[in-house]
Amino acid sequence: MILAFDIVLLVFLVIAAIISLSVKDLLSSAMIYGIYGFLICLLWAEMGAVDVAFTEASVGAGISTVLFIATIFNTRRRSSD
């Protein structure tokens, strides 16, 4: 529960979320979503929720990103917006 760390992580989180939704290349979008997942895992570890951080690191940042990339590989890679 360190306030400065908290604030910095939360600001990075918002930046990562906005960027992930604005890039046109879907593969980059999925990778930045993976970055978002790891940042939020750090935030929860800092808040004392270690089980949630473990689950988010393995499920949210690991498996979710792989599933997105698998789908993008099978469909189109560029998006129009």
């Binding site: 089980d51 473990f54 393995s58 499920v59 690991g62 498996i63 792989v66 599933l67 990339i69 698998a70």
Partner: protein
Amino acid sequence: MLSKVFATIAVVITGGILLYGVSDFPGFGDPHSPPNAGVPGSPSVSQYFITESYADTKVPNLVTSVLADYRGYDTLFETVVIFAAGMAIFAILRVVGDQSVEQPRRTSESSFTDGDHSRIIVGTTCRLVVPVIQLFALYVVAHGHHSPGGGFQGGVILGASFIIIALAEHLNAALRRFSERSYVVIASIGILIYAAFGVFAQLLGGNFLDYGFLEPILFTDGPEMARSHSMLGVEIGVAFTVTAIMFAIYANLSSRGLLRDGL
């Protein structure tokens, strides 16, 4: 364009109302806020979990003891939801038989050590690392009582080890080790293990998922150790299901249901 305008209006109004409501929230980090300590006269249930859970179940990890014992019913149906998602993906995507006329993406399944040298680094590293990952996954499942971990996290790591095999070599290499029939059977066995703990507790006289009554079967001295052992058994069931379904979801998504060749 209309959808963007509508979305912006909706988001601004909702966000404004929510931000106005934030001022009524309990302060961040306050140990005496209503979720943490309850209101005077009715303490919150988490106070009971913190103070009494070790005496009831002898498990130091409070999150695991609440997840698998006090809230075991939720966890059972969460496992069923994961299983149902795997079955839904099977029903949506799976194409059985050779009806499609598309060519396989990788025409040959040559090993990376002879012939195709482009994947030699990734392939060798994965061959060295996958057994360690699987050992770590089993450690995480077994030590859920003492350290962060438990059935879900260990199951996901174990499923990810099979996904690594599929990514490094061919999807068929992973399917040879963990075929479709195996993963469906293992996913079902996981839920049956969990439900068996509950049903045996009922047969011995207690409520469903009341692990204290399993004392005669598990040969422990006292209902606390019976609850601790049953929590481990239940977490193993959850790990089975999560492993199988995570690999099933990846296999079906990456091969568009054909299960012939993936990424």
